[in-house]
Subunit: 209 residues, 2 copies
């Protein structure tokens, strides 16, 4: 991982590389992407990318971590907010779904990272890094899971099995990473309206009152 790199580089240059990498990984997948592709899309040299990220695997892991970090930051204001759980869930779900749309390339990398790790398509050294990243993602998921559990216990949601309900909820909220593509002239209002439809669907699925 590149924790030390993060502290010594100007953030914008670092984030430019991560954004270009996220886009490449999303478009081609991990295996078919190369540091060359990332450099080319930046109009930069391979050297510049390697200077900051020692390997493609390291770059991929850092895109994953950044994607999750952006999600944690976005939900922070509502995470512990003292309002009924069903309302807190609606805020969290709305923010999360917006993230899936607005930072889609990063979130696709998170998804692919989970797949690669579960398939064992990582080296022993990478496995440790990915195990930590997956743990980071699992803890994020638990925030939502606990919220819907609390809402159910308060009688504001109604579902049979917590684990299954949480899986189905996340599939719905995450789904734009597979089917969303920006339309020309799309406004922030259009995206908010799209997010609203997705969250409403998930809320109904959870039996929210």
């Amino acid at each position: 991982m590149s924790e030390s790199t993060a502290r010594t580089m100007p953030d914008d240059s670092r984030f430019d590389i991560l954004s270009a990498a996220a886009q490449c990984f999303m478009e081609r997948g991990y295996h078919a992407s190369s540091i060359d592709d990332v450099a080319r899309s930046l109009g930069s040299t391979k050297g510049r990318v390697y200077h900051h990220f020692p390997s493609k695997a390291d770059l991929f892991a850092e895109v994953f971590r950044t994607g999750m970090e952006m999600n944690y930051t976005a939900i922070e204001p509502y995470r512990e907010k003292d309002i009924p759980a069903v309302m807190r869930w609606r805020h969290l779900a709305t923010i999360h779904t917006g993230q899936m749309i607005r930072t889609k390339p990063f979130q696709r990398v998170v998804w692919e990272g989970v797949e690669l790790h579960l398939r064992g398509a990582t080296t022993p050294e990478q496995r440790e890094v990915f195990a930590r990243l997956l743990q980071y993602r699992t803890e994020y998921g638990l925030i939502f899971r606990k919220t819907i559990e609390e809402a159910r216990d308060a009688g504001a949601m109604d579902f049979e099995n917590l684990g299954i309900a949480a899986e189905l909820m996340f599939m719905t909220l995450n789904s734009p990473i597979f089917w969303y593509s920006p339309r020309p002239d799309e406004t922030e209002g259009d995206i908010d309206r799209l997010v609203g439809q997705i969250v409403t669907c998930a809320a109904r699925g959870l039996g929210a009152s």
Copy 2:
């Protein structure tokens, strides 16, 4: 494609190869899988697999086609059944979700095939085959889409945008291909109960009465 092979081979031998291949592709993904892996898992020779399927890409495409064919066959009795659309949808959704669980390796290959094709990770020759396979899948999706449209027009479902509703419905019904794993001593009744929870969640999402 192997249409001619299909007609000249005993079905069980052919299906054994396809099942073993589906399992390998599911576990490792297309890129990391080899004909060698498939042969090894069959306790067979590479030659036997190559005898029936000229290449890994051909084998993958045939697993995809078989997965979709099994879905079409399964829903056939309800496809045109003369009952209210919302009831027809519930039958179709229940059968489809059961397919996602009971033939999961094949359905994961269908999913990966769509991803590979959309990412352009196919050769020009494969692209034509995959374009046909995707069309085959799109037509299957339209059966469900038309059914929920009919149900909405009859006032038995309530959602804002047909395209988005169909995407969210399929994400929910398909989701077991990502999170389901068989438990020890699991009965057909347990699977039916799981399918019931998934279909109920999707039905609620669609605003089914």
